[in-house]
Amino acid sequence: MARGTITIDEKRCKGCELCTSVCPKNLIQMATYFSARGYRPAILVDPHAQCTGCMLCSTICPDVAITVYREMKSRKAQLVAA
């Protein structure tokens, strides 16, 4: 299983929660604070580095707030990144 992670751009995130519903590892939660634009942004809560970089969250994010990273060991991952 690939290892990955994501970053969520708090400026772009509108707190719609869509990403939370698709993460197979349930790694995304909504913040309790408000962003400058008045939304509760999504945050990655991944203490055990479970994120696989599967891109499901970025695929559903309507606001292109999520950047996905993956460890580039496997050929497959490199292909996807190409």
Partner: protein, 258 residues
Amino acid sequence: MLTDDMQVVYECPDALTDVITHYCPGCTHGVIHRLIAEVLDEMGIREKTIGVAPVGCSVFIYNYFDCDFAQAAHGRAPAMATGLKRVHPDRVVFTYQGDGDLAAIGTAEIIHAAARGENISVFFVNNAVYGMTGGQMAPTTLPGMKTTSSPTGRDVELAGFPLRVSELLAQMTGAAYVVRRSVHDPGNINKTKKAIRNALNVQLNQAGFSLVEILSSCPTNWGTSALDALKFVKEQMLPFYPLGDYKVADSAKSFIVG
């Protein structure tokens, strides 16, 4: 945890500008924008693409794309695109239209663009309401669905029946590629992206008119959370608007994947 040996596998496509959209939280207009941008990047055609914006929530789409754009009168995007395409036959011209725009006021323009086999691509965002004006009944509003102008639910006796655009346009000889997709979950999002690519590929190969109808959410006007809106798409809209390929003309077959 971001480590040094990690590389970006997904980031904002080049064809999108840095501007944050004005869409409501969870509105899938944003997803569809992203998909088109990704395809423009992947096909390397951003620089030869001219988009035509509708009147509707997506009127500001031109702020979000790094390509030339024209902003059409309500419903007339296919006519404007025709004008553009006829004088720039080697450019890629697409319209992006909502259901009010395309299926109500713009009915004549879309039908005749398809009839002419106009070599443009249309991305038709069906969210079953007039989003921008605050959620009135659209031609695609489901029977019984409550909107601000069908407050007791769409009464088909008085307000008529929803228009099934893909089914209708598939009738046109000039239409090369007419499909319906949805963006209510990642799998469908990926299929939608393929269809967008197919449509543009059909155009690039001069194979005729292409249209991708995309079922989309409007949490604000449906009065639901963004998540419930996706459920609504899946549970209420899909049965009424079945996904599928409604027309793949022979001229288009070789330019289609999936």
